[in-house]
Amino acid sequence: MIPISFFLLLSGVLFVLGVITFFVKKDLITMFMAIEVMLNASNLALVSFSRLSNSLDGQVIVFFIITVAAAEAAVGLAIILLIFKQRKTIKPEDLNLMKG
């Protein structure tokens, strides 16, 4: 009933918002959250297309994406913890060892 394009547009908006959050924020944790937002946006797009093509493949893919996102969140947060322990900061500007 609701045109698919609305959902797709919502997905796009969510993605763009995630990008903006990533570039605007100054603390690592919120930036990481923005990444999750972007992932979810793509999940939404996938589910919409799955509905459009009347097959369940999109949903299976989303299933896997969610799983992988969980694993990635675990490891990423561990890394952030370690960075904080070492450098006592979570501002990304201070992490510039790869400069030059």
Partner: protein
């Protein structure tokens, strides 16, 4: 018997390769053996081919095409050797005298540390010279021409750590090269007008008379320019005296017997060309005659034994060109053949003198060596007598042939120059003999202690060459003693046509011979009175004409003139080009490229800030562009 003639150059070049690659690990004894043996085999094969040629009686050349080299459109130049009377004569001279000189070098260079390198170069030289004389086309001959030029550079500058030797080598090569420019131009014109560089084809075209005489003259003169460079005539003779910096056997081989005669060979090979153009022949004859006298005057004042012999060589080659210039090519070749024997004898004997005096070359520090060098002295004397033109030795027959032909063809000026040269020749040769072997001893005491006759390996070639200096003239007995006794001339007849018979009448011929003999003996007598009877005369003459003496003993300042006119401008010019173009343009471009790359790199490194947000930004930009492309 003649089928294997093409193997003649093979053995020396094989030996060169073996010595060049494996030389370091071979013993001195083996090196000497291989080098000499290679040339000896070539000599044997040449001899066999010669006999085969005599018996076969065929007149046309036997050509063997070894492999196809240049083929452009309808023009082709192949690596093909030819066997005919002229080439086999030269091959015999090259390999025969070359072999004797190799043997002599074994003794002369025995203590030199670069023994193997010397023989490598020497064998290479023999190979290049053989290619030169046995080539059947001008381009292969030019290959040999350049090859002997290269070898002379290598061998003159053999002791390259000595500055003067290295410079002499460079001078020889560069002056040669200037002559070769003319030679090449001549070859190009021939290709244009004949379409081929084979000697047969050239001769056919000349016979057919299709080329304009202006073109023929031009080609002949251009080729002769190359000959003046290689054979050290005016104006390109300046390298030969300096070339005495090389080892003495090298001087004997290259500068007396073979390489410098390559020009004469070339002119004889192209005899149809020079016969077809009166102007060119006159140029050749005049240049030869003038050089003969000019060089002889310079030999009068030299104090270094080898320098005297060097100027003597220049002068004698002038005689050979005289012969060719007046149309008596076989006379010129005859003189080439006899000169090979006595000039190399003279050089080797001089080397023997030098060896016994531990390296002394200045005649002012010699004298009275007659009793110390019982083998060297007689052989040296025989050589001197031969070159002076005393009757019954080889030099007499060949010089007489040239002078008689000159007179008979009406070239009286050339004839008189030849006579003048003969006087001078006799004089300076005997000046050398008297100063070195006779008179009071002026030897340095330290050298006197080691004074000894040279070993057999050096004196044996001297003896052999002395014998040939005496007997080699008898194949060319002039007409006065009997018709058809000039075997040399009739041998070369198929190759070198004798266009007009010289009808001088027997009486005239006898008078001419008498004049030559008188002239030679006069020269010897003057030398005798100057240096034996009254040694003060030379000093008084010098005191009376000091300016003339300085002029001549400084070689007429020719080297200085050339330096000022040609060498220094070129050097200055190249320095200018170097600073203003090479350094500032080419180097600058290369350096700019490097520094530009550097700055670009530095600029780009600002992207790598180390902040993840910036890297993510780059991803994002890419993603946006990509999506944009897909959508649009």
């Amino acid at each position: 018997m003649t089928e294997y003639f093409w193997l003649i150059p093979f053995f020396p070049v094989l030996s060169t390769f073996i010595l060049a690659i494996f030389g370091r690990s071979l013993s001195k004894k083996y090196v000497s053996f291989q080098a000499c043996f290679a040339v000896f085999i070539s000599f044997i094969i040449s001899l066999i081919s010669f006999i085969g040629l005599l018996y076969s009686g065929s007149h046309g050349p036997l050509i063997k095409n070894l492999f196809s080299w240049i083929k452009v459109g309808s023009f082709e130049a192949n690596f093909s050797l030819q066997l005919d009377r002229l080439s086999i004569l030269m091959a015999l001279v090259v390999t025969g005298v070359g072999f004797l000189i190799h043997v002599y070098s074994v003794g002369y260079m025995a203590n030199d540390r670069d023994y193997t390198r010397y023989f490598t170069y020497l064998n290479l030289f023999v190979f290049a010279m053989l290619i030169l004389v046995m080539a059947s086309n001008l381009i292969l001959m030019f290959v040999g021409w350049e090859g002997v030029g290269l070898c002379s550079y290598l061998l003159i500058g053999f002791w390259f750590e000595k500055h003067s030797a290295a410079n002499a080598g460079k001078k020889a090569f560069i002056v040669n090269r200037i002559g070769d420019a003319g030679f090449l131009l001549g070859i190009f014109f021939i290709i244009l007008n004949v379409g081929s560089v084979e000697f047969e084809a050239i001769n056919k075209t000349l016979d057919a008379g299709t080329m304009s005489s202006a073109m023929i003259t031009l080609i002949a003169i251009l080729l002769f320019v190359g000959a003046t460079g290689k054979s050290a005539q005016i104006p390109l003779y300046i390298w030969l005296p300096d070339a005495m910096e090389g080892p003495t056997p090298v001087s004997a081989l290259i500068h007396a017997a073979t390489m410098v005669t390559a020009g004469v060979y070339m002119v004889s090979r192209m005899n149809l060309l020079y016969v077809s153009s009166q102007t060119a022949a006159l140029v050749v004859g005049l240049v030869g005659a003038l050089t003969a006298v000019f060089a002889a005057t310079m030999a009068l004042t030299q104090n270094d034994i080898k320098r005297v012999l060097a100027y003597s060589t220049i002068s004698q080659i002038g005689y050979m060109f005289m012969g060719c210039g007046v149309g008596a090519f076989s006379a010129g070749m005859f003189h080439l053949y006899t000169h090979a024997f006595f000039k190399s004898l003279l050089f080797l004997a001089a080397g023997s003198v030098m060896h016994s005096l531990s390296g002394e070359l200045d005649m002012r520090k010699m004298g009275g060596l007659k009793k110390y060098l019982p083998l060297t002295y007689p052989t040296f004397l025989i050589g001197a007598i031969a070159i002076a033109g005393v009757p019954f030795l080889s030099g007499f027959f060949s010089k007489d042939a040239i002078l008689t032909s000159a007179f008979g063809k009406g070239h009286y000026l050339i004839w008189s120059l030849g006579i003048l040269g003969a006087v001078l020749t006799a004089f300076y040769m005997f000046r050398l003999i008297f100063l070195t072997f006779h008179g009071e001893e002026r030897i340095d005491p330290k050298a006197k202690e080691h004074l000894h006759e040279s070993p057999l390996v050096m004196t044996a070639p001297l003896i052999i060459l002395a014998i040939f200096s005496v007997i080699s003239g008898y194949v060319g007995i002039p007409v006065v003693f009997g018709e058809k006794l000039n075997l040399f001339e009739s041998f070369l007849e198929p190759v070198i046509q004798i266009p007009h018979e010289i009808h001088l009448g027997l009486k005239m011929e006898w008078i001419l011979i008498l004049i030559s003999v008188v002239v030679a003996l006069t020269g010897i007598y003057i030398a005798f009175s100057f240096y034996i009877r009254n040694p003060k005369i030379p000093h008084r003459l010098v005191a009376k004409f000091p300016k003339v003496y300085t002029l001549i003993s400084n070689k007429y300042y020719v080297d200085e003139i050339y330096n000022g006119l040609f060498v220094n401008p070129v050097v200055k010019g190249s320095e200018l080009v170097y600073e203003n173009f090479d350094l500032s343009v080419i180097d600058a471009t290369v350096n700019k490229t490097g520094s530009t790359t550097n700055s670009i790199g530095k600029a780009l490194s600002y992207i790598q800030t180390g902040l993840i947000k910036d890297y993510a930004l780059v991803f994002f930009i890419g993603a946006v562009i990509f999506i944009g492309i897909i959508i649009l």
